[in-house]
């Protein structure tokens, strides 16, 4: 069973704070991490490998420093890692990103299962996983919370829906995106850490991927951000004082005034 895990390096948003004075983002010293949902993807890949054997590869598209995220993936037990990085890839929307990652995965070699986190915490789109599946013309299931069975030809999973779950079966090769409920990621092993230091991580650019410059990055993007602004925050911030009785009374009056109850 050959597995590819797609990961993204994202800012660790715990350190993103909103400045009370200017109501803008304060991002000094923001650390980069592996997108939390991708940690579940890595863990699930490792568990499948432990049961069925095979190789597990990690791939990421990003700036050169995204290599750190790939090294971290190796420390958990990923066998090899590939970085897709090129100035031409910058500014990609989810469509251009999906195309680029699909080409990168093809170049890695034959695979049975691709695992992605359900979404990245900086963009929250959940679009790249399904996009990669489409570009590779393979079936997929999004929001997988449990793998029930894997055979040589198919995989049976539970996917989280808004009001319950569906049991799905798709043929292999295929792609799944996973949610937090699926597992609890492990800590890096000492051996993994050693390997992460020494492993050679190939960087593939535009010329390596058999893809046109007009299909990647900003040029290959269908969407374009035209404006960024700080959201208006909903209303006043009022601390209700007094005894519990008074506080509760005040609260109910306020909620009545706003017609929310």
């Amino acid at each position: 069973m050959n597995i590819v895990v797609c990961i993204k390096q994202v800012p660790e948003t715990t350190s993103v704070k909103i400045s009370k004075d200017t109501n803008t983002l304060m991002r000094e010293g923001v650390k980069s991490i592996i997108n939390p949902f991708d940690m579940y993807a890595i863990e699930e890949g490792l568990r499948i490998k432990e049961r069925f054997g095979g190789r597990i590869s990690a791939v990421s598209m990003g700036p050169p420093q995204a290599e750190e995220a790939l090294r971290e993936a190796v420390s958990y037990g990923v066998d090899d890692a590939f970085l897709l990085s090129d100035r031409a890839f910058a500014g990609a929307d989810t469509l251009a990103t999906s195309r680029t990652l699909a080409k990168g995965i093809k170049k890695i070699g034959s695979f049975d299962l691709i695992i992605c986190g359900k979404q990245a915490i900086d963009g929250d789109t959940a679009q790249v996983g399904p996009g990669i599946a489409e570009k590779l013309d393979i079936p997929f299931v999004a929001f997988v919370r449990k793998i029930r069975e894997i055979s040589n030809h198919s995989i049976k999973v539970e996917r989280m829906m808004d009001n319950g779950y569906d049991v799905m079966e798709i043929t292999l090769p295929s792609l799944i995106t996973v949610v937090k409920e699926i597992n609890e990621p492990r800590m890096p092993s000492l051996r993994g850490k050693m390997k992460a230091k020494s492993i050679d991580i190939p960087t593939w650019g535009l010329a390596d991927l058999e893809i046109g410059e007009d299909k990647v990055g900003l040029k290959g993007s269908a969407t374009q951000v035209i404006k960024v602004f700080t959201p208006k925050r909903g209303g006043r911030r009022e601390m209700l004082e007094g005894s519990v009785e008074t506080q509760v009374g005040l609260l109910i009056n306020r909620l009545n005034d706003l017609k929310v109850i």
């Binding site: 679009q127 009001n163 049991v167 993007s221 035209i226």
Partner: protein, 396 residues
Amino acid sequence: MSIKIDIELCTGCGVCEEACPFEAIKIQDDVASMDERCNLCGACVDVCSFEAISIQGLRKTGGDGNDHKGVWVFAEQRNGKIASVVLELLGEGRKLADKLGVDLSAVFFGYSVEMQTNELISYGADKVYVADAPILRDFNDEIYSKVLVDLINEYKPEIVLSGATAVGRSFIPEVSARLETGLTADCTALDIDTERRILLQTRPAFGGNIMATIICPDERPQMATVRHKVMKKATYDTNRKGEVIKKDIDGYGVNLRTKVLEVVEEIGETVNIAEADVIVSGGRGLQEPKNFKLIEELAKILGGAVGASRGAVDAGWIPYSHQVGQTGKTVCPKLYIACGISGAVQHLVGMQSSDVIVAINIDKDAPIFDVATFGIAGDVFEVVPALIKRFNEIRG
């Protein structure tokens, strides 16, 4: 397209550095410079007082001169029942269609769905494209994508909207990728630039800390998934007339690689938090799993759903499907009551777009109070029972 900083005009004041949401600008030697993180969003152009920054070669838009016309709403159903977000999309879709002077259509997949087709017309659809077959009863990404892609290629709408539900967020990205067009996830506002006939799609990014307006200038259709509860529901009028166009899907079920084996409704009594108008959430401040009963009781009185912080879920007090926040669900109810939740950023990003937020926490300095409309610094075990008592009195 590129961004240019005129070093003659730049004073190194640093306003652009602060305005940049992507940390792409640094002031070095009293001049601003930009690195590859620049997304050409233009936030710096707007704030520069010296007109030192400009975006060059803005792409032309393909708004006119193409043959795509009309606004479509994907009318998701579960167990034959139209999802509530669809009614909101029809309300919003009507406005967009009127601005563009085009028809509003609904696209409806299911089995035995004639009655619902009439419903969609009563809610304002001028046309309903219907695919009615047993194989469409449950949500199968593969066949849903195929049918929708074919319909879009045949009838060429300029805008396609879907709810940002588990269904919409699962198969719509596949549809847009196959059509090689753009898709904007989780929109909270839509509008039309009437001059260029393009859809302005606004969505939260960085967990709601910033908002971005996104366009799809050249490709058609322009596609967006839209959050629950942010658009106004369409008005219902049974006198409305509409056209029904049936899509024949014979042969679509052959050689499918995807099978739906079982559909399990899990949440039952507790309302789905993504759609709830009122959410009462509990966190680690509840101390013990049995204390979640308080939260459930308050939620029940208010007709709301029960949410939880990651801490409470990780402690095993309540299932993951209730988790609000970065690794759980993003919610935007009319009323969110946070009980014993301190308000880690990961929680805040999942609920800060709620209309009214009430926070009850013993620690008056807890970050949850920064986003709360009304805060009560007090013991949840005193405040929540008092609230329950008062609500019970009011409701008699």
